[in-house]
């Protein structure tokens, strides 16, 4: 049975009386221990998807879904109490910016112990130190009594990961966990995420705009464009033989060591304004292979020749 099932997730922001869709037609499921990368450019709705899973979006957002189910619990209809028990417990979350995700006026140790207390284990300095060891923070005792500003960015992100792990999560959501960090530290943090995931057999949802970082680190990969999921499948397959024209274009524009061209091919045009999504396929205005049905009908995710890959594109047959 899958750990997390999402069907037809839709998120709208209310702004000035208008409803602006930020995420549409997002469906996927996650098995226990599985890792899924969600990639897309900024504004594609990837962080919104991550935050909506724990209902952490601001009040101006309306989240609807046919199913948003974690271990048999419908998250969208959960009462405040059970929802709080889920957050930081079975579902852990690591945020983008470790410089602002820790409270500057509390010691790091206090912030971990607080979560331990909340999710059933009780305050225990020894457990905090062992968590610090697990995320490979050097000098756990020193970090325990330190305030966030005394730590480096990488150390802080490790501390944030320790906090997320304090509740022994079955699913860890990492919302662009390396964006705010130095390039050299990014790799360390991603490797660490991968290692603890395997050690603790957690499922991982890794949101990023850096597709390159995801290869080899996640079992499956989903690509978001303009709030819609355009392709999802095993990471190696999606990166090796992309089905959707957007994924193809995206991968062509990545710099590669083996390439010698001076100028990288770029996708023409801009992603659509979320206030004015075109009718039909949102990628049509930029798509090199667009044809008649693309202008009228928004394609839905459907299995490809390799059935583990799903893509939303009319090239692979028009919706029946």
């Amino acid at each position: 049975m899958s750990l997390l099932t999402i069907e037809n997730l839709r998120v709208e922001y209310r702004r000035g009386g208008k409803r602006i869709p930020a995420v549409r037609n997002v469906s996927f499921s996650l098995a226990p221990g599985e890792s899924l990368g969600i990639a897309g450019e900024s504004g594609s709705g990837k962080s919104t998807v991550a935050l909506s899973l724990l209902r952490l979006l601001p009040e101006s957002a309306t989240v609807t879904a046919d199913t948003l189910c974690f271990e048999g619990q419908e998250i969208l209809s959960l009462a405040p109490g059970p929802l709080r028990a889920l957050r930081g417990g079975p579902v852990g979350i690591v945020f983008q910016d470790p410089f602002s995700a820790l409270n500057p006026v509390l010691t790091v140790g206090e912030q971990v112990e607080e979560v331990l207390e909340l999710h059933g284990e009780g305050r225990s300095r020894a457990r905090v130190l062992s968590l610090f060891g697990q995320v490979r923070l050097p000098d756990p005792a020193g970090v325990y009594g330190a305030y966030p500003h005394q730590l480096s960015g990488g150390q802080r992100q490790r501390a944030c990961l320790a906090i997320a792990m304090a509740g022994r999560p079955k699913l860890l959501i990492a919302d662009e966990p390396t964006t705010a960090l130095d390039v050299t530290v990014q790799r360390d943090i991603l490797n660490l995420l991968d290692d603890v995931r395997r050690e603790l057999k957690m499922a991982l949802l890794l949101v990023t705009h850096n597709v390159g970082l995801l290869s080899e680190r996640t079992d499956r990969l989903a690509i978001l464009y303009a709030g819609e999921m355009v392709e999802i499948g095993p990471t190696a397959t999606v990166l090796g033989t992309p089905s959707h024209p957007y994924t193809q274009g995206l991968l062509k524009s990545l710099p590669r060591l083996s390439h010698t061209e001076r100028r990288l091919p770029a996708l023409p045009g801009q992603p659509p304004d979320p206030r004015d999504i075109p009718v039909g396929c949102p990628f049509r205005p930029r798509c090199p292979s667009a044809f008649a049905p693309c202008a009228t009908e928004d394609p839905v995710l459907r299995p490809m020749k390799n059935p583990s890959v799903h893509a939303a594109c009319h090239l692979y047959g028009v919706t029946p």
């Binding site: 709080r84 957050r87 417990g89 409270n103």
Partner: protein
């Protein structure tokens, strides 16, 4: 953490330091009153009435022959207590209302802030006069009334700070970890508000002492024979032309205390102000 840094800055702020030392001195004098004088503040010796300051009566005696120095010390206890407890009430109430309004926003915020507007609309002194007239002018009533009318300013201040704090990522992170709202408010947000609350409380104590004096002047403050600086001053006004010491000394005491509190409050504001970096 930051407190060491603030301590160093505080020691470098001469006005704040002067205020703090003066307050320490005044507080200590009031606290150790029985050691500093052998006169009972309420003992009347009609044979010794309206004596000018002398070695026996350091600040002279009043119209009932009571020792003014002793009454000043014991009255200081009352005045300081009125100031501190009134501010304790107003800080508790103001902080609570401000935190709740700022964190939840929406309807809660609108309702609480209209309440603040309403309380601010009342001319405070008349409200206090009315309440005291219905209750009775006792030490506790005066304290409570001052406390319950002086919280709106702080509530606005705390609300404003909370509004900007709640948008910070660590609040989202705290929610994401399953922390309850009271825990976020009191463990995660309150420590950020200590500085503005401390400044406002310090200035508030001075204000409360002044209000008590004003009430005593109208005969509605702390009631004799219990001494407060306000009512010593008041009882002296009838004898101003024959016994100046009756009014001057309590007046000076109020002036110095309130001045010291204001210096300390302004000084703390500078100490906590991140833009003030010499």
């Amino acid at each position: 953490m930051m407190w060491r840094y603030y301590g160093i800055r505080f020691l470098g702020n001469r006005l704040a330091l002067a205020g703090a030392i003066a307050l320490l001195f005044i507080g200590l004098a009031a606290w150790t009153a029985p050691l500093l004088t052998r006169h009972n503040p309420n003992e009347q010796r009609l044979t010794e009435r309206l004596q000018s300051p002398s070695a026996n009566h350091l600040l002279g005696t009043d119209d009932l022959g009571r020792d003014v120095f002793s009454r000043m010390l014991y009255g200081g206890r009352v005045s300081l207590r009125v100031g501190l407890l009134a501010v304790a009430i107003s800080v508790t109430l103001g902080t609570l209302v401000g935190l709740v309004a700022g964190y939840w926003g929406g309807v809660t915020d609108a309702v609480l802030m209209r309440l603040v507007d309403i309380v601010l609309c009342f001319p405070t002194i008349f409200l206090i006069l009315m309440v005291i007239a219905f209750l009775e002018p006792s030490l506790w009533n005066v304290m409570a009334v001052i406390g319950f009318t002086s919280w709106p300013g702080l509530a606005r201040l705390v609300r404003g700070e909370t509004l900007s704090l709640r948008e910070r990522d660590f609040v989202l992170a705290a929610r994401g970890l399953g922390l309850s709202a009271p825990r976020i408010l009191f463990v995660h947000l309150l420590p950020h508000l200590v500085a503005p609350i401390l400044v406002s409380a310090t200035l508030g104590v001075g204000g409360a002492i002044l209000t008590e004096s004003a009430l005593s002047f109208l005969g509605l403050g702390v009631q004799p024979p219990l001494a407060s600086w306000g009512n010593i001053l008041t009882s002296g006004k009838d004898y101003l032309h024959v016994a100046w010491w009756l009014s001057i000394f309590p007046g000076v005491a109020i002036l110095v205390t309130v001045l010291a509190l204001n210096l300390l409050g302004e000084g703390l504001r500078d100490v906590f102000d991140p833009r003030e970096n010499q």
